[in-house]
Subunit: 403 residues, 2 copies
DNA sequence: CTAATTTGTAAATAGCCCTGACGAAATGCT
DNA sequence: AGCATTTCGTCAGGGCTATTTACAAATTAG
């Protein structure tokens, strides 16, 4: 439900073609003007003028002459600038805070992270600590002569569609938190998005190439189980921006009551707490016993690695229920691929067989199931890249001449 | 997973603006050039030249002067031509064949239909009879001085994404049937699509206005239970074009075996056959006993109307299971509205309460549930309108001067 | 060293929309 | 009725965008 942006004026055309040039370089790698022209179907002349603008804006850079061994004059290779604007990404996790900056080439140029106990914490101190990290990263950037073009924050919760307010983040205990103006976004715009969404976008942009060839359902779990649906390279956000709530897909007709008000939700059987309970641990105590990013997940992975039968059985059970929910999703969406991301990626060796078995049993030809390449880093990287992608989408809006 | 059409040239811009003018009239009703200019954000001058082209192409027509009572020279009202190209729509149902033609204004200008027993029938005789109906309708059109701009066929089964081949239509017993060249499409292109998809599009284009304001999940059932997902006014088709298979969402962990190979699929509990079995009827015999379009559904509706407790209980049960599957879908998609279409619309009075009860029990705030305004006619109308919409999307491609 | 090939740019051209201005046709006030 | 006001549609001129055509520069192949 996004209003399709109408193409009316010649400026819109110009903007679209500027973006097309940049994406030709993003998707196909550095290339000469002539090669870019072939890729996007414009003439060399047109590409030349577009490139002139992009060079002046500091988004592209000439990187010497390329010679391919074939006859003809070699072209001057165009690459994305590594001196241009950077994207600031931040992640608010239940037990950590992280910030990073990526340049237009997608390289991480600065980062900072701390362990933190954000569970059931008030927003103010969390945002204050996060602001400190952001200032830290911004400092590193300006030292290197780079400038931030905006900030995007990944949160484990529901976010309104326009991306300024957290509606609900149960595991942080936040409700209706407006972030506008409360974090130093480096002059650019500030956006908030769900970590599952950003993890999926990261996988699309810089992860497994299979995600670029069709619709994707990207599952990710921290404590809750979320997912994101990518269609045609775009997120399906739904009416309120809450699409992808895989954790509340019913997998038992009459099952445990869930915090959402329902019964038999997947989260009650495959969520982190459910797995901890299944091996006889008190979830609340486990959080205290195994803090830090990947604390409980690392603990579970360790015991699974050691062959602990209780943990293996619990993960098999979780995988089976996840398989049921994914059957529902795959029937509804017919995705090209299913991706396990977030904390699930670290437990994939023990979850995957059960998930695949259940999918195979229930669907004639189930979509392939792959493990995220980015894992727990996905949301953070996705947030940073969301900023740089916004620059690429509208190159001259945020650009400024090279110094 | 549709390649986004890139906007490169000024011709593309022109095409987009021609379409914008037409859609301004479609969505906002007949209006003067100046009014259209206001609606789409172009200048009166630009709109004038666009309208000139559209008048010459026979897509728009001037309909006299409009006077609103306000000062100023009255504008000449522009309306879609009712002499222009028409869309031919056809529907292949399990027990009927239907064809209709709609003009650009959306009015049905010709139609033909017959009862037929297509269940488990070979494609050849069915296509032959359908071709006869199409010729009949085309004849009516040419008598009225109209010309068909293409043909779209609705089938109860899975269709490849490019819309030329039926992969599988279980209730017809068809597998891998290529329709290209086997039906008289009146010179224009021939397309095939799933009836659930076309029913949903019909609802979007000419049905309940709530479908136009956000993402929609449109459920429709003939014998199988299908659905279509509309995002941003576009169908979500999925990787192979099989998205929307609501009928195979699991609603029982260990349930009846289903033809799809799975267990506990919704279709086994809420499909037409399941309901017939639940009231003690043999589905195969019931088909023979109650033929024709709406045969079994009409029979069930009649008994429900009369207060038959068995039927009411069976429909309540089906509604409950449908509610479970819709909970899954609503959590994944966060749709703006859920629509019950197809044959379900006729049983809505008895299904709806159970569906709503289950949704309400499982979701804090469930999306509103509405009944399709078009019902069983949806797919046929959607098919016809798919053709006219294609004309509106690229006005000068298929156009020809007024005679 | 020459021919062939490819690259990048320049000049001229065509298409599209915008600005500004104008006559035409209605309303509303005197 | 007469006049000012408002709105509509069109015309002329101009700016922007991409294309066509042409050409100099730089490389490979023989």
């Amino acid at each position: 439900m996004t209003a399709t942006p109408r193409l009316h004026t010649q400026q819109d055309l110009r903007r679209a073609n500027l973006a097309a040039v940049l994406y030709a370089v993003v998707d196909g790698g550095p290339a000469s003007r002539a090669r870019v022209a072939d890729r996007i179907g414009l003439t060399r002349t047109a590409v030349s003028t577009l490139v002139d603008d992009l060079l002046a804006a500091g988004l592209l850079a000439e990187a010497g002459l390329g010679h391919s061994g074939s006859p003809g004059r070699p072209g001057t290779v165009l690459a994305l600038s590594d001196q241009g604007p950077c994207g600031l990404g931040a992640a608010i996790g239940v037990d950590h805070l992280a910030v990073c900056a990526v340049d237009l080439r997608g390289r991480v140029r600065a980062r900072a992270a701390v362990d933190a106990v954000n569970r059931r914490s008030r927003p103010e101190p969390v945002l204050e600590r996060l602001a400190g990290l952001i200032d830290d990263v911004t400092g590193q950037l300006t030292e290197a002569g780079l400038r931030p073009a905006g900030l995007c924050v990944a949160v484990p919760g529901q976010v309104v569609r326009d991306g300024t307010r957290v509606v609900q983040a149960p595991n942080l205990g936040w409700r209706d938190v407006d972030l506008a103006g409360r974090l130093p976004s480096g002059g650019g715009p500030l956006k908030v998005d769900n970590e599952a969404n950003l993890g999926a976008l990261a996988e699309l942009w810089i992860g497994d190439p299979v995600c670029r060839t069709g619709d994707v359902l990207h599952v990710s779990a921290e404590i809750g189980i979320g997912s994101a649906i990518l269609t045609d390279g775009l997120l399906l956000r739904g009416n309120r921006g809450f699409a992808g709530e895989l954790g509340h897909v019913p997998v038992r007709r009459r099952g445990h009551a869930c915090g959402c008000g329902g019964r038999g939700c997947l989260e009650q059987y495959a969520g982190e707490e459910a797995v901890l309970r299944a091996i006889g641990l008190d979830p609340v105590r486990a959080v205290a016993d195994h803090p830090g990013p990947g604390g409980r997940v690392g603990y579970l992975a360790g015991r699974a690695e050691a062959g602990d039968p209780d943990v293996l059985r619990a993960l098999r059970g979780a995988g089976t229920d996840l398989g049921i929910a994914l059957t529902a999703a795959a029937n509804l969406l017919d995705p090209h691929v299913l991706v396990l991301g977030g904390a699930l990626a670290d437990l994939a060796p023990w979850l995957l067989p059960a998930v695949e078995a259940e999918l195979g049993r229930r669907m004639g030809t189930a979509p392939p199931l792959v493990v995220s390449r980015l894992g727990a880093d996905g949301p953070l990287l996705g947030a940073a890249h969301a900023v740089t992608r916004a620059v690429l989408d509208d190159p001259l809006r945020t650009a400024q001449p090279t110094g």
